[in-house]
Amino acid sequence: MRYEAPESLEGAVALLAGATGEARVLAGGTDLLVQMRADIVDPELIVDIKKIAETRAVTLEQGGWRIGAAVTGAELKEHARLKQAWPGVVEAANLIGSTQVQGRATLGGNLCNGSPAADSVPALIAAGAVATLAGPGGQRDLPVEDIMLGPRKLALRRGEIVVSFLLPPRPSRSSDAYLRFIPRTEMDIAVVGAGVSVTVDGAGTITAARVSLGAVAARVLLVPEAAQAIVGSRLEVAAQQRLEAAARAACRPIDDKRGTTEFRIDVAGVLTRRAALIALDRARAN
């Protein structure tokens, strides 16, 4: 098993594109090392991307925030301005695992692990995050909702890596929130996750919204119908009911020991409503 830690994107892409056997990208390692240990994967090549500057920076870019794919959850939590602009994204990232896992786990890894229950992914999709990818053909941008196609299935091409995420410029009176349901209080995998981002006008009416649901389908869902259900409203009871119904209508969950189909659909409505109310409160206070 080869280990390489290139210092440039071109170097990482060349290594991955030229690999003869299975190659894996190493960011925080909190999924990859567990899968290697369990013999789920046995890569011939590991490419550690943490020495590439672009993957490790959080920077302001034309009014938006660019977050490197290998920035850890602990680093995001300590970034006061990012947390102010995108509290939902930061709180979602910080729900992944323990303090120890937070010291290593990354947004890029959470997305590329390809789990429909990944906590940070609904928050990124609700935020309208666009991923920048680097590959043998150069760089390209792809909305986060278009990257995960199904469990462990990504839209990345051979040799391509996620470099960073761009969170768009934030109008004033905007905010976001992420909630998940787990059977305990910490250290568990989402049975349902809901991310909501809203912008309101001076009167407190929602002018724009994005809603995303995790763990209720084979991939994390962007639910435009749920967003449409609350745009133009002040999230009064009728709008809350429309939001819940639209969120539930989008769910196509599995049925397993962690949550039945019926339960997941019901909870998806409840969490979407609660996340929307939190996002709305935060937006009005901004």
């Binding site: 098993m1 080869r2 280990y3 925080g28 090392l33 850890t72 323990s98 303090t99 896992v101 290593r104």
Partner: protein
Amino acid sequence: MAKHHIETTVNGDEVEFLCETEETLLDVLRDTLHLTGSKEGCASGDCGACSVMLDGRLVCSCLVLGCEVGGRRIETIEGMATGEKLHPLQQRFLEHAALQCGICTPGFLVASKALLERTPDPTEHEIRYWLAGNLCRCTGYDKIVSAVMDAAATLRRG
């Protein structure tokens, strides 16, 4: 393939070692450097028994590759006491009987020290959340939390 030659710092000492790609930092600490204070519980990042500090950040050493740590700063449980003098956390764990079998104890101590360096006066709530990734299967958590609160008070008095 040839082993990786790694030079790094462990508890302030410069060390070098050889490792295979698949060896974790925990494997290296225990089997190569013979620092067996860090324990292997789950090997999947769930139990926290292998907790160490890596460049000032609390991590599970079972989720770090040995070949990743060149030029880094690693702190383990072996660096906690000063000679024969126990760290206040170690002293309070003894006084509160916050351990039985002891397998989880090094991880709890390393994680608790990381908490108190950031949060000198933590609430019980903060302690329990910070330590959610450290599992104890015999003593129970109340004595551990009490020991951490008591040690925090000792450290605040200086």
